[in-house]
């Protein structure tokens, strides 16, 4: 079911945490709300769930306005960060609870619980108590309980935050698989860009109660609207260099001249700009050669990360397939792909 936020506003006391937010989540889509803590993403989630009342605007499930409906009547499935399983009930009873409350008969409940348990691969755990499950299993139970009622919208609040690294990887693809198999419209709240990009059809980046950009993960990575978005996506992160345009297609970077990408050559001189350089655009075969010294080497198995101190004192990062011919202190000359460089105006938006 399509979910629409129409001029959604939420304030606590006198402060507007979120003002006039518009957002549409398409039917069957999985959308990530990504942002630093305190950006209002959880507030948005809880407003959709009905835990927070909206202060203004509307929330629509399909064509139905649910803004004034209590949580119980919205049919929203929520997976909480700590799973919030009912500790005194078995797994089966946990999953059956929403159906029981809805007054379904025993036979239906039994059938539905079994079907959902098979979908999330916990059919062997049905008689256990939550305390007897591992973190990943608890996560699966929470997911099963959230989707057993076939909710209009599934909300996931930092669902992977409490798992260790290996399980996180596994549950990432599991949650995505289950979401796709059921076709439930889902919203994932996270501050982890890798989670957001790997699990979702589209990502909405939020900061200070505002959505800055909504796009597919690849598009957002390739063409971020602003410096903030560019800085938020990418691991290892993008490097920013401050400079001034000289009007002849170059940027002056405190003792170093770099050519602007071809599409921006016409930029008039005297403008303060920020160059955004991703590690994969430095140290490849093409581009402008830059000389510097290796300051730090971080092997990551498949790739190696180099911190290069340029001659003008700026530090650039380069990520390259594993190479062992360099050590700290070596003088190198790496190519910078200036065409792939991101250029931001003083206001932060991308040019």
């Amino acid at each position: 079911m399509q979910l629409t936020l129409d001029k959604f506003t939420k304030s606590f006391g006198d402060t507007d945490v979120i003002a006039d937010m518009d957002l549409t989540v398409r039917d069957g889509e999985m959308l990530a709300l990504l942002g630093p803590s305190g950006c209002g993403k959880s507030t948005t989630l809880f407003a959709i769930a009905g835990i927070h009342r909206v202060s203004g605007g509307r929330i629509l499930f399909g064509d139905r306005d649910v803004s004034d409906l209590p949580s119980q009547k919205r049919n929203v499935g929520v997976v909480f960060q700590n799973y919030a399983l009912y500790p005194h009930m078995t797994v089966a009873e946990n999953i059956a609870f929403p159906l029981e409350v809805a007054g379904q008969d025993r036979a239906t409940i039994k059938r539905e619980v079994r079907a959902i348990a098979e979908l999330v691969h916990i059919e062997k755990l049905l008689n256990r108590k939550p305390a007897e499950l591992s973190g990943g299993q608890q996560q699966r139970v929470a997911l099963a309980r959230a989707i057993v009622r076939r909710p209009a919208v599934l909300l996931l609040d930092e669902p992977l935050a409490n798992l260790d690294a290996k399980l996180r990887l596994e549950m990432r693809s599991e949650i995505r698989r289950i979401q796709q198999e059921t076709g439930i419209t889902a919203i994932l709240v996270t501050h982890d860009q890798v989670e957001a990009m790997s699990m979702c059809d589209r990502v909405a980046i939020m900061n200070e109660g505002e959505i800055l950009q909504i796009d597919s993960p690849t598009e957002m990575y390739r063409a971020p609207v602003s410096r903030f978005v560019a800085g938020f996506l990418g691991n290892p992160p993008i490097t920013f260099l401050e400079g001034v345009t000289d009007g002849r297609g170059d940027v002056d970077l405190d003792g170093l001249k770099l050519p602007l990408p071809a599409r921006l050559e016409a930029l008039p001189g005297g403008h303060a700009v920020t160059l955004g350089i991703r590690p994969e655009h430095f140290g490849q075969s093409r581009g402008v050669p830059l000389r510097g010294k290796v300051r730090f080497i971080e092997p990551q198995g498949r790739e190696t990360l180099f911190d290069i101190l340029l001659e003008n004192g700026a530090m650039l990062r380069s990520i390259q397939p594993v190479r062992q011919d360099l050590s700290v202190g070596d003088a190198v000359s790496f190519n910078l792909d200036t065409e792939a460089m991101l250029v931001f105006a003083e206001t932060g938006e991308r040019l």
Binding site: G50, Q72, G77, N82, L85, Y86, F97, V101
Partner: protein, 284 residues
């Protein structure tokens, strides 16, 4: 469980327990001796000047059927049971709901209520006696079981509510939010999801309320002095009037044991749960 026995063995190796046990034993000795003679005396006769009994007898227990000795013990027992059980019921019902409200609901004057509950808890009940007497007299509840129950219950509630609030505070909010999202009403959430989490608190509080009601002496003595409402504690006091002509010290001891027995049994059965209450309700 090798994990739990390991630190224990290493503990006894490093610190000898014998001095500790010796000190504890020495300190407890007077109590043990008194309790031992309470039991011994109630089942035996000893010469007037000696502590050593010369015969085994059950005659000190004839108060159980011979009501001419100290009065009808069964009426007193019935009254004590009524008082204790109504304490359990009222304390549990009101504390489990009141504690939840204090912990979770956005009540007006919540802080004021919390503070006054604490003040009530700290207030010495004896100072209220004259006031409650006047109120009971005015309402016609003086010299009735209902009056005693109302007063005793009121005095127990602050403690019960405060304890239950502690247990409710330890239940994560997310469980309630999840229940509401699952479509359950706030009441269903409380009854089916939250109440089971605070069960250890309810058990402990119930036992506590029973013991408190069973042991109450002052309120029934003063607020319901009539013979119909005599509870065991008052009965025990009446059995021990030393200047009565038929005063029998051993019968008094037997009544004492009879009165203590339920307390001992309850304590043995529930001792682990009772410790919960002082753990602040963190143990689910």
């Amino acid at each position: 469980m090798s994990g739990s026995s390991q630190p224990q063995t290493s503990m006894t190796r490093n610190f000898s327990m014998i001095p500790v046990l010796a000190v504890l034993g020495l300190v407890t000795l007077p109590l043990v001796v008194m309790y031992a003679f309470l039991v011994v005396d109630s089942f035996s006769n000893a010469p007037a000047t000696s502590l050593i009994p010369y015969e085994f007898t059950l005659e000190h227990w004839r108060f159980l059927y011979d009501f001419s000795l100290v009065g009808n013990v069964w009426i007193a027992t019935k009254n004590s049971l009524i008082l204790a059980f109504t304490m359990v019921v009222t304390t549990l019902v009101l504390s489990s709901t009141g504690g939840y409200a204090m912990s979770r609901l956005n009540l007006p004057f919540r802080r004021f209520f919390l503070a006054s509950v604490l003040v009530m808890h700290a207030f010495p009940a004896v100072t209220l006696l004259i006031g409650t007497f006047l109120v009971l007299n005015f309402t016609g509840l003086y010299n009735s079981m209902i009056g005693v129950i109302l007063v005793k219950g009121t005095l127990m509630l602050p403690f019960g509510i405060w304890i239950m609030k502690g247990f409710y505070d330890a239940v994560p909010w997310e469980i309630e939010m999840a229940g509401v999202q699952d479509g359950a009403s706030r009441f269903t959430v409380w009854r089916r999801l939250v109440l089971p989490q605070v069960k250890p608190g309810l058990v402990a509080l119930g036992v506590f309320a029973f013991l408190d009601g069973w042991g109450e002496y002052l309120l029934p003595r003063i607020l319901a002095p009539g013979a119909d409402f005599q509870v065991l504690s008052v009965f025990l006091q009446d059995a021990s009037i030393p200047d009565a002509a038929d005063y029998n010290f051993n019968i008094f001891k037997s009544v004492g044991i009879f009165y203590t027995l339920p307390v001992l049994i309850l304590f043995v059965v529930f001792q682990n749960r009772l410790m919960n209450i002082f753990g602040g309700g963190t143990k689910g």
